[in-house]
């Protein structure tokens, strides 16, 4: 059965139809990439899936049940890294990740392991304001991996990553798939898409 099912999802801003009757399903261990030109509604689709925005019509199902963002079970399954993330100015990098790990029951990869994997261990005690944009992006991505997940939603995760970071990302996504995580991702990186994507969801075409 699909982990994620999207049926007839429509989003309008007044008379402007951004997403029109979008349908797709995503099973465990597969990665679907949302493709389309700028302004085609990729981010809006991801925001509707994670509950940061409300669709005007249609539904999002997780494990066949309607996805309500307020349901703790949904939040336990779904890990997301979108562009709306913000940081506590007075918590260090490591403390951010420890907080997420604790709030999710403390069952995932240890924070230290993720910090090392993402090359964040050097800045573990730094406050967010001191990080570069690339390091912030790594911290955002790290927040998805210190907690349990069965569905990963990423909005252009390759943005602001250097060459090494992009190589790590491709490898990580392949491992996520191998571990049975379903991944829904928007991206403009043709190489990354070719390397990791199983399905393609066209929007705005």
């Amino acid at each position: 059965m699909d982990i994620l099912t999207v049926r007839g999802l429509t989003r309008r801003f007044g008379e402007l139809v951004v997403l029109d009757d979008v349908h797709f399903g995503l099973t465990a261990g597969r990665l679907a990439v949302v493709a389309g030109p700028n302004g085609s509604g990729k981010t809006t689709l991801l925001r509707c899936v994670v509950g940061s925005d409300r669709p005007d019509e249609g539904e999002v199902l997780i494990d066949g049940k309607p996805c309500h963002e307020t349901d703790p079970e949904v939040r336990a399954v779904l890990a997301a890294a979108l562009d709306d993330i913000d940081f506590f100015p007075d918590l260090s990098v490591a403390e951010h990740l420890e907080l997420v790990a604790y709030a999710h029951g403390g069952a995932a990869q240890p924070v230290a392991e993720i910090l090392a994997e993402l090359d964040l261990d050097r800045v573990a005690d730094q406050l967010p304001v001191t990080l570069s944009s690339g390091q912030r992006q790594r911290l955002t991505l790290a927040s998805c991996f210190v907690r349990p997940r069965r569905l990963l939603v990423l909005d252009e995760p390759e943005q602001r990553l250097d060459g090494r970071g992009r190589a790590w990302l491709a490898d990580r996504l392949l491992r996520e798939k191998a571990a049975g995580t379903a991944v829904l991702m928007a991206s403009h990186d043709a190489d990354l898409i070719a390397e990791v994507a199983d399905d393609r969801i066209e929007v705005g075409g």
Binding site: E15, I85, H104, A107, A108, S143, P148, R175
Partner: protein, 470 residues
């Protein structure tokens, strides 16, 4: 190394445990003692009490002065009812725009994405919000009763109770609306009923006044009736809000967080346009798409004015507010006829200011001015046409209730009103590298004061001129 994706073997912690952990982590970096918190509370209470009392005394003194000589008591009573309805409607609209429940963007990203009970996570801030609103609205009710000069102390109690109950119903109702999956129709209806009935009451009183048929005062003690009905309704609304807490989703919390951010910046910089910009952005997004039509041919000036008129037609709030200010002027002239002239200057400035959207935009963006071409003077003149004509029509429409004859002073006041709106709309951007004044409140940049008073300073001068020359 394999990714771990299994479900958590242990349940997620309770909301209180997560909050405590976050508090502990933050305390490691900056310690806030109980004494610091109490000092902050003391300063806020002191300021509210001091300025609240100052405001009450000023309003009472004004109403007792010759300028505050009231009109017919019945008409004044109903104008006060219309004002209370309008204030409640505006408060309801602000509560709905703000959330009213909101959390910081950081908390949304790192806390509210966890499988922690949503209702328990929101409960402390919901309780604080309801409590603070009830207290604030109760104090406002008490202040209104003090200003009105009630005959009996029990009236003060009824008024405070009516205010507290109304505030509680409004904030609890707004939480219930926030928890609805889509913007509920009843919430929009409440907004329209409150503002519509305020307008209808004011219109009836003004029409009755102009036809020489004053509306009689209601014999029913209105505040007592509102209090008696409002308290049980408030209890019911709070219960409904409590049950709705678990359904308040991230989408609505994000929306409130943006509003809170803009409100904080606006308060710090004393610049309400920041909130206005956010509200406008949301409204434009809700419109989404507009019909394209070619602009009429002509010189640059004519095309710019044409574009300004087209934007005005698409502007969701400018003309209704302009018209509401017209009705307000008539209502003020009925309730406080002796000071109608001063109010005409203030409300005329606000009406013209509502039409200066284009002028604000071209004034704050050098890039836009470069793109449009022509001199800055031409661009500003083209964008001052609409507010000037709007002010002229507004002023002419309100003259019958202010002065029986038209004289040179009206030309002076009208020009002054347009100039004040122009000054406000063309405020230069804030500079933080200028001199700073050490005041008992805080260190305040001189440029901040200059920005805040630019526009209202001319209005104050015009009020004085009006008092001296008419």
């Amino acid at each position: 190394m394999a990714a771990t994706t299994s479900a958590p073997p242990s349940p997620a912690p309770r909301a209180g445990q997560v909050r405590a952990r976050l508090r502990r982590a933050r305390r490691r970096h900056h310690e806030t003692s109980l004494g610091d918190v109490l000092t902050d509370v003391y300063v806020v209470v002191l300021f509210v009490a001091m300025y609240g009392w100052f405001g009450l005394t000023a309003v009472r003194r004004y109403l007792d002065s010759p300028a505050g000589v009231p009109g017919d008591p019945g008409e004044r009573y109903w104008i006060a009812v219309a004002a209370a309805l309008a204030a409640t409607g505006l408060a309801w609209r602000i509560l709905r725009e703000a959330g009213p429940l909101l959390v910081s963007p950081a908390a949304q990203s790192w806390l509210f994405s966890a499988p922690v009970n949503r209702a328990a996570l929101l409960l402390p801030r919901a309780a604080a919000l309801v409590g603070a609103t009830a207290l604030g609205a109760g104090l406002l009710g008490l202040g209104a009763a003090v200003v009105a000069g009630p005959d009996r102390p029990v009236d003060l109690l009824w008024s405070a109770l009516a205010g507290a109950a109304s505030g509680t119903v409004a904030v609890a109702g707004a939480v219930v609306a926030q928890a609805a999956p889509r913007d509920p129709r009843w919430a929009r209806l409440v907004d329209r009923v409150l503002l519509g009935s305020a307008g209808a009451v004011a219109l009836l009183v003004v029409t009755g006044h102009l036809l020489d048929r004053p509306v009689p005062e209601l014999s029913l003690p209105l505040t007592a009736a509102v209090a008696v009905l409002g308290v049980p309704v408030a209890g019911w609304a709070v219960r409904r809000a409590y049950r709705a807490l678990g359904r308040v989703d991230r989408a609505s919390l994000i929306s409130g967080g943006q509003f809170a951010g803009a409100a904080t910046s606006a308060a710090v910089l004393l610049d309400p346009t920041m909130i206005e910009n956010l509200v406008q952005r949301r409204r434009w997004r809700s419109i989404g798409r507009v019909r394209r039509r070619p602009l009429r041919r002509g010189g640059r000036f004519a095309v710019l004015v044409g574009a300004e008129l087209r934007r005005l037609r698409r502007h969701p709030g400018a003309l209704p507010v302009w018209a509401a200010l017209l009705l307000t002027m008539y209502a003020v002239a009925v309730a406080l006829p002796a000071s109608a002239g001063s109010w005409q200057v203030v409300l005329g400035y606000l009406a013209a200011d509502r039409l200066t959207g284009g002028l604000r935009t071209v004034s704050r963006s050098a890039g836009l001015r470069r793109t449009l071409g022509g001199s800055d003077t031409l661009l500003r003149l083209a964008h001052v046409v609409v507010p000037a004509v709007g002010a002229l029509v507004w002023y002419a429409a309100t003259l019958p209730v202010v002065r029986p004859t038209v004289g040179p002073v009206d030309g002076l006041l009208l020009a002054g009103i347009v100039a004040a709106a122009y000054r406000t709309a063309t405020r230069p951007p804030m500079r933080y590298d200028g001199p700073i004044v050490d005041t008992p409140v805080a260190m305040i940049p001189v440029d901040l004061v200059r920005r805040v008073v630019r526009g209202p300073d001319l209005v104050a001068v015009l009020v004085l001129v009006q008092l001296l020359l008419t």
